[in-house]
């Protein structure tokens, strides 16, 4: 059964024209010399021809008319990319990168690199107290910036909506 399936798979690829050149040569030889391959090939070729020659189904005569009536009151929606403002995406990206860099720079600047010269980098890193950077002031400032960004995004969203509404009107 597996052998038969393998033959069929290779023959379908040959019929579809997606076999490699090397495989094509091998199959062409097999078709000339092997009766099993030849019989299977003519069987699959017949199915292939039947499938290729079958006709398309036709919908009712009113089909196009129904579609045209369906779209009569519709407006084409603006392309997705036109309402995704790249500047905003870049702005958010730049904000987060800046925040990360700032935290890292501040963190490393607070470390005493000369203390305990013999200790390894891992030990130094374990002494790094991250909690002091996320005290209330830092968290509040971070939240504040996020709220401002959120308001800017909301404003931009309503501006776009207003423009779209005016355009449609």
């Amino acid at each position: 059964m597996n052998k038969e399936h393998s033959i069929e798979e290779r023959l379908w690829e040959f019929i579809d024209g997606i076999s490699s050149d090397e495989e094509k040569t091998v199959i062409e030889k097999l078709l000339q010399t092997d009766a099993e391959w030849k019989a299977k090939y003519s069987e699959l070729l017949q199915i292939n021809e039947m499938l290729s020659s079958s006709e398309l189904e036709e919908p009712s005569m009113r089909f196009t008319k129904n579609v045209m009536e369906g779209i009569a009151k519709l407006h084409i929606a603006p392309a997705t990319k036109s309402y995704i403002n790249k500047k905003i995406i870049w702005g958010i990206g730049v904000f987060f990168v800046t925040m990360l860099v700032a935290i890292l720079v501040y963190g490393f600047s607070q470390m005493d690199w000369n203390a305990g010269e013999s200790s390894s980098f891992a030990e130094k890193l374990s002494k790094f107290d991250i909690s002091k950077f996320f005290n209330n002031t830092w968290v509040n400032a971070f939240m504040m910036v996020n709220v401002v960004l959120g308001l800017v995004l909301l404003d931009s969203y309503f501006n776009n909506k207003r423009k779209q509404f005016r355009k449609e009107a």
């Binding site: 189904e57 045209m68 084409i76 929606a77």
Partner: protein
């Protein structure tokens, strides 16, 4: 109607406000889309409704078609998604590859088809009936490959699969179609030889 224009010309016209130009696209693809929906949904009435819905959706989101692929490939992606949503809504089971239910459905359909086949021994009818016995996934991939003339790359894009996966699925679908023809239309297949 703008029949002499190619797809991209018609799309440009529609996007610039000529709604009637869309009729040209509908006329060009209605048989392809309807065949595909019918093969997946099986009921003519539902298939026609879904096919109309596909064209309405395609019109609404036409601005999103950027010409990176063929219009037909983009359109068949909408067909695929709309049919899947419809089948889910209707709670029709999309049978898994090894589900026995496929054969139960096939057998129940077979008795009806046999009466027709005595009078209509054409290849067309037999192939059409054999395809309609397949599960929606198999019927879809065979229709896309043979009737809608999509390459394996394009089929993979429409179905959201890897090219190799699409190739394996097409192969399995053809194997199952062959089995259906041998089981249910053995006499007709012999007569055609």
């Amino acid at each position: 109607m703008s029949t002499g224009l190619n797809d991209n010309d018609l799309i440009s016209k529609v996007l610039s406000g000529d709604q009637q130009a869309y009729a040209g696209l509908v006329a060009r693809y209605q048989n392809y889309v309807f065949t595909l929906t019918l093969r997946m949904i099986k009921s003519r009435e539902d298939a026609e409704e879904v096919a109309q819905d596909v064209f309405i959706k395609a019109y609404k989101y036409l601005a999103d078609f950027r010409g990176a692929s063929k219009f037909s490939t983009w359109l068949y992606t909408i067909v695929n998604n709309t049919c899947i949503s419809f089948l889910r809504k209707k709670k029709l089971q999309i049978y898994s590859l090894d589900n026995e239910g496929v054969f139960e459905v096939a057998d129940s359909r077979d008795s009806g088809f046999r009466a027709d086949l005595v009078e209509q021994k054409s290849r067309q009818t037999m192939v059409g009936n054999a395809i309609s016995m397949l599960n929606p996934d198999d019927a879809e991939i065979i229709t896309l490959f043979y009737k809608n003339e999509q390459s394996l790359d394009e089929i993979a894009q429409i179905l959201g699969l890897e090219v190799n996966t699409a190739k394996v699925r097409l192969h399995r679908a053809r194997t199952r179609l062959k089995e259906k023809m041998e089981t249910h239309f053995a006499h007709e297949v012999k007569d055609l030889n």
